[in-house]
Amino acid sequence: MDMQLIQPFINSLDAVISETMRCSARIADVTMQEGNYQRAGVAALVILSGDIQGRIILDMDTAAATQAASDLAGISGEPSEETAREIICELTNMVIGNSVTQLNDRGFKFKVHPPELFLTDVGPRGTLDSETVLLRFELPKGAVYLNIAVHDNSHEMIGAPA
């Protein structure tokens, strides 16, 4: 997978976590994933279409979601399922939005669809033409997973018939 497509998502996750939760997100593991995605906690999925095609899943385990609820909404203790879902959607929105900004400024033009909650335990595979990379970030409390299955569609679009 093209690192220039992945790096903005890593940078953005770190920046958003740092800004909203006042802590750093350390990359603990990077793996290429085959098969379906297994949800770890509360997760949201965003579809990208255009020069960059694919989907991103942001997934937080319970400890990280609890910390996020405390930092972002002042909620103490484990958040309700509804609150955890709202928080993951908003964090996903910020991470993807910031990444898209970086990619767009590099010339990639594409559309971001609003985040959708990813409710099933087992999620989608990467598409046939997208390898999937799974990044695990460690926070002081808990972990955040970024599952990225995207590919550069710009060359195909240039050659595509009108």
Binding site: L72, A73, E90, N93, T101, D105, P114
Partner: protein, 144 residues
């Protein structure tokens, strides 16, 4: 951090319409607005609802997300400004690339704030657009 209220004395509070598809984001923005001494005139979760809510509430400022279902924020700005040319709309979005910002400004938005929103910067931007709004329209020499 404490903020000096946007309006003082006997002046009415500045009324805000907060538009974002995320309930959580709306709550956060509403909290900031209240900390600035503003008042929430209404909330909407998409562009279509925003247009209806604007017509119902006639807020002083609209804080508008971009990526939303049904109708995106930039399209909603175009509709609102077409109907209400003096509408004061500030985009608040995590998607902050140049094309998007330019497009929003061309459609009539006054400013752009990127998420995650920093309250101090947000406060200054709101004060700035309010001060711009308060300034009398420039007169031309032909009209003088």
């Amino acid at each position: 951090m404490e903020f000096k209220p946007l309006t003082g004395g006997d002046q009415p509070k500045i009324r805000f319409l907060v538009v974002d598809d995320s309930v959580f984001a709306r709550k956060n923005i509403c909290k900031m607005v209240e900390a600035f001494g503003g008042e929430i005139a209404g909330e909407a979760g998409d562009g279509v609802a925003a247009i209806a809510k604007y017509n119902d509430t006639h807020p002083d400022i609209v804080l508008m997300d971009i990526t939303m279902p049904k109708m995106e924020g930039i399209e909603a700005v175009e509709h609102i400004v077409h109907e209400h040319p003096k509408a004061c709309i500030v985009m608040v979005s995590s998607v902050g690339y140049q094309d998007n910002i330019l497009s929003a400004l061309q459609k009539g938005a006054r400013h752009f704030v990127q998420k995650p929103v920093k309250p101090e910067a947000f406060y200054e931007i709101i004060r700035y657009v309010l001060s711009e709004n308060a300034e009398p329209a420039p007169t031309t020499s032909e009209g003088a």
